[in-house]
């Protein structure tokens, strides 16, 4: 290997490798490269610094074998359980998808053409989402303490001691995946429908909230798209209501979502979300994520976003069924 290449390798892996290197045993390891997100769209450089520091501290142990990945997570944030409090007060919650059921799409698989293609909807719903449901069941099967918990409660418990450690990753990834996609199908609608017409379907409150936050719908979309483009790898972009009653844009990696106060820095109640995993757009747009972003706005369900906003303002959760 040339000196320059060695230099590059050191530079690139130094952050992930421990300072002490075992040189005596030339053993072979299967090592996952840690996934990391530096794409939290807030401009908080301190938190990004924390993420970087955490990467440096990742240690790889043992002379050989297949090692576990360490997914970088943002700093923990423990907040109040506003959804639970709403329940306690006897308020009606939004319709919630059962933990063990794949919800049907609220429209035909080709209803979002030409903006989101039929084949993507088929695979995305019938395969990807279904797999999350199946794997979540398997995880719950191994953890009787989790039986009977709602999907929303499972998501809110991610990163806390309420989830047994042997299933915590499975619950995070698959509980997150099931909730995210159930929520997502609801915030989509055929382009010609009234629900997709912002002027007609968005409430005055929502319009005001968006204008207060970004000045205009277009300015909001631009910021949202910017955040969506910056997500490195797999993740989601969200619009939600924070504890201070302000609308915020945030991103999460993998199948995390803003309900997961235990692991997500920007926790809030989502009212709109977009899947930017490659499987959400690759068949139609391949690597051109910006094209996908342009397309998807045609099928955003502003009526549902309005409903979610109303619910969030009342301390209730968005719909997943």
């Amino acid at each position: 290997m040339h000196a320059a290449q060695i230099c590059k390798l050191r530079c690139l892996t130094a952050a992930a490798a421990p300072r002490t290197i075992l040189t005596s045993t030339k053993s072979l390891l299967c090592l996952p490269v840690p996934t990391a997100s530096f794409s939290s769209s807030t401009t908080d450089s301190k938190s990004r610094q924390q993420s970087y520091t955490r990467a440096s501290a990742t240690t790889l142990t043992g002379p050989l074998g297949v090692l576990a990945a360490s997914t970088l997570a943002a700093a923990a944030f423990m907040g109040s359980m506003s959804g639970m409090e709403a329940h306690a007060e006897g308020m009606q919650a939004s319709s919630a998808v059962p933990v063990d059921k794949l919800p049907p799409l609220p429209f035909a698989v080709d209803a979002l053409e030409p903006y989101i293609d039929k084949r993507t909807m088929e695979i995305h719903h019938d395969m990807h989402h279904k797999t999350y449901v199946t794997k979540l069941q398997a995880a719950i099967g191994q953890a009787p303490a989790l039986k009977g918990k709602s999907l929303e409660d499972l998501n809110k418990a991610v990163g806390t001691g309420d989830i047994p450690s042997d299933v915590k990753t499975a619950v995070r990834n698959n509980g997150g995946g099931h909730w995210n996609h159930s929520f997502f199908w609801k915030v989509l609608a055929p382009a010609e429908s009234k629900s997709a017409d912002y002027q007609a379907a968005a409430s005055d409150d929502l319009k005001k909230g968006i204008e207060d936050g970004w000045g205009s719908l277009d300015a909001f979309k631009a910021k949202f798209d910017e955040a969506a483009t910056a997500v490195f790898g797999s993740g989601w972009v969200w619009l939600g209501l924070d504890d201070a009653g302000k609308l915020v844009i945030s991103t999460t990696s993998n199948q995390d979502n803003p309900l997961m106060k235990g692991v997500v820095k920007d926790a809030h109640t989502p009212i709109l979300g977009l899947d930017v995993w490659e499987h959400a757009y690759y068949l139609k747009h391949q690597n051109k994520r910006p094209e996908y972003l342009k397309s998807w706005w045609h099928v955003a369900n502003w009526e549902q976003v309005t409903n979610n906003y109303k619910m969030a303002m009342a301390g209730k959760s968005p719909a997943t069924a």
């Binding site: 230099c7 075992l22 390891l29 090592l31 990807h128 499987h279 068949l283």
Partner: protein
Amino acid sequence: MDMEMEMACRSLTTQSLPDLPYDYSALEPVISAEIMKLHHSKHHNTYITTLNQSYEKYADAEAKGDVAKMIELQQAIRFNGGGMVMFDFEPPSGELKSAIEQNFGSVEDLSKKFNAKAATVQVLLLLTVDQGLVPLLGVDMWEHAYYLQYNNVKADYLKEIWKVINWKDVASRYSKAQ
């Protein structure tokens, strides 16, 4: 900041997209020409462009003494540079075979163990020497690496990919790492 890393990053130069050592269709039917073309001319190319931009910004930030910016860019350099190192990988006998047998039992056992792990990984799984300083083999687990052909059936992609691993190059990396 890690002094070694800082020194190393200062000396990084502009990268360019290396040619593939074979035609886009050479890995058919395991990996389609369409995927190879997108993967190389778009994804890989974007990593290099973004990496070069990050280098420029890094040099800028360094000149201004903007440490926060430098740290932020380290991430971009690591990810996009990582993309480059992944792809410069070129797809067992002798020493390598012995090492594989010693650590895993057989090449087949290695592929089983590797695949079990790869199915859970989002980005890349490496076969490495020691603590990960010298990667020998990598399999891209980003969805773009297989989606057009295999959709969400990762297991099929992982089964097939072992047919196109360039063991000669894995072996040469292994012996250089000794």
